[in-house]
Amino acid sequence: MTHTANEMMVIAASRALRNNDICFVGIGMPSAACNLARLTHAPDITLIYESGTIGTKPDVLPLSIGDGELCDTALTTVSVPEMFRYWLQGGRITVGFLGGAQIDRFANLNTTVVGPYNKPKTRLPGGGGAPEIAVACGEIFIIMRQATRSFVDKLDFFTSFGHGSGGNDRARLGIKTKGPTRLVTDFAVYEPEPQTKEMIVTSIHPGVTREQIQGSAGWPVRYAANVAETPPPTAQELEVLRELNARTARAHGEAA
């Protein structure tokens, strides 16, 4: 079965989630990847959305972080302060799943502004839950499409902290969690190099070239000694993802 680069990205991201993960889910592609994992290899994964829904099993992907579907299918729903204090800050989340507008080679993220903060070229939505998700979750997965304007040499603004300037920057700030351990794009999978913490390519999606990867990144991309080829989507993964997307489109369209 042929697949798109987007489908490969969401499927590759979903594979990294484990059945026993407690996952803090962002809206958009992270939500697609997490629910795909739940509907395929990780049926018992606990999905948590920052609106307070714990153990939610939506039939369609939510448009917003607090769609009714999330509450209706949740084990329980807590208040927003409780979500951020007891569950996130309390250290009960194993994986936080984030996206962003800009990323650098150390997986720091910007979702705040393009250009200067006080006179932005583009004002973006801001951090929301991300600044604390990035430090409180056991580890962070990031999913983003590659493009030179988003994979930048230098962020315009540090919205959430990845590996800082690399090395032991997290520990230096007193952060005890691992930070970004995986970046999945439409071209490849990146993981932090053990010492420098620079995100390096460890797996390239089928049919993608190193020229494409470099052509859409604003820094000289480095590769692991042994780079794998990402296994292509299985028929089951593609079928479940497409059904999920079709159900979602029908649900949001029918709300009119």
């Binding site: 609106s51 705040t112 951090g127």
Partner: protein
């Protein structure tokens, strides 16, 4: 004790020019009808507080009600930018607007501190990021017991808290179920409060395990506005109008189409216009 008023009378009495107003509801139960009434009564120079300023504040900002926005995520969820906010912030139309930006954790903690009567909120946050460089209200304190450095932000104590709830009983107690968000904290943190509800009942009936009840004596005024959260939703009453959130992107992109929509749907209408949405998007009884 809460008094039952018409929405127009409640806004007239409770919200004044220059007030700090927090209209909350985390995706669920956003008090859109109250927002429209504030626009119709032409309130000015408001400081608007909200974790996720979405369409409700895009409309109020575009109609010139606000001089400052305090927020942690500003956008149309799952859709894109708030065009009226960006036009005000980037181009000063219809008037310029100042911002004070936080993270969700900071805002949630700050409302809770406000409800608890504390001067500030303390939490583990803002590590390694740039917001503390541009927001002087983000500071650090040292735990006197462990020496850990923590983030501190001032408590939020709005002049007025505005929320939508599912129902009130005749004594003026208010019930919220589903995604309960930050509703309880904002009402308790605010000096005055306005609650719109779907209906007024003799008895709340069966309650879910996480039901939030706000006692009548914590609320200034209640106005019954069926459908008053649209295009947000009311758990067990009507669904989120996702199609309208998508449509808003086009309406708000252009100043003229925005003003035309506001005239037809807000300035020339009243709170009763919301009832049709609760019927159109009604959810089956569970």
């Amino acid at each position: 004790m809460a008094r039952f008023l018409s929405l127009a009378a409640a806004v007239e009495e409770i919200i004044r020019d220059g007030d700090t107003v927090a209209a909350e509801g985390f995706t669920h139960l956003i008090p859109h009808a109250a927002g429209h009434e504030i626009i119709r009564q032409r309130r000015r120079r408001l400081t608007l507080i909200r974790m996720t300023p979405d369409l409700i504040y895009d409309q109020m900002i575009g109609m010139g009600c606000a001089e400052k926005l305090v927020f942690s995520w500003v956008g149309n969820p799952g859709v894109g930018s708030l065009h009226r906010f960006r036009d005000a912030y980037e181009n000063g139309w219809p008037c310029s607007i100042a911002i004070e930006e936080h993270s969700h954790a900071a805002m949630a903690n700050a409302y809770e501190a406000g409800a608890a009567g504390l001067p500030c909120a303390i939490f583990r946050g803002y590590l390694g990021v740039d917001l503390p460089k541009v927001n002087p209200n983000i500071r650090r304190v040292t735990c006197p017991f462990t020496g850990e450095e923590l983030a501190a932000v001032p408590a939020l104590r709005p002049d007025v808290g505005v929320v939508h709830a599912l129902r009130a009983d005749r004594a003026g107690n208010v019930l919220i179920e589903g995604i309960v968000g930050i509703q309880k904290e904002v009402v308790l943190a605010s000096k005055r409060s306005l609650v719109t509800v779907e209906e007024i009942v003799d008895d709340f009936g069966e309650r879910s395990a996480n039901a939030v009840i706000l006692p009548s004596w914590t609320i200034s005024a209640i106005a019954c506005v069926p459908g008053g959260a649209h295009p947000s939703y009311a758990h067990g009453y009507y669904a989120r109008d996702n199609a309208f959130y998508l449509a808003w992107d086009k309406i708000a992109r252009d100043r003229d189409s925005f003003l035309a929509w506001m005239k037809t749907n807000v300035l020339d209408k009243g709170p009763e216009a919301f009832a049709v949405h609760s019927t159109r998007l009604r959810v089956a009884a569970e």
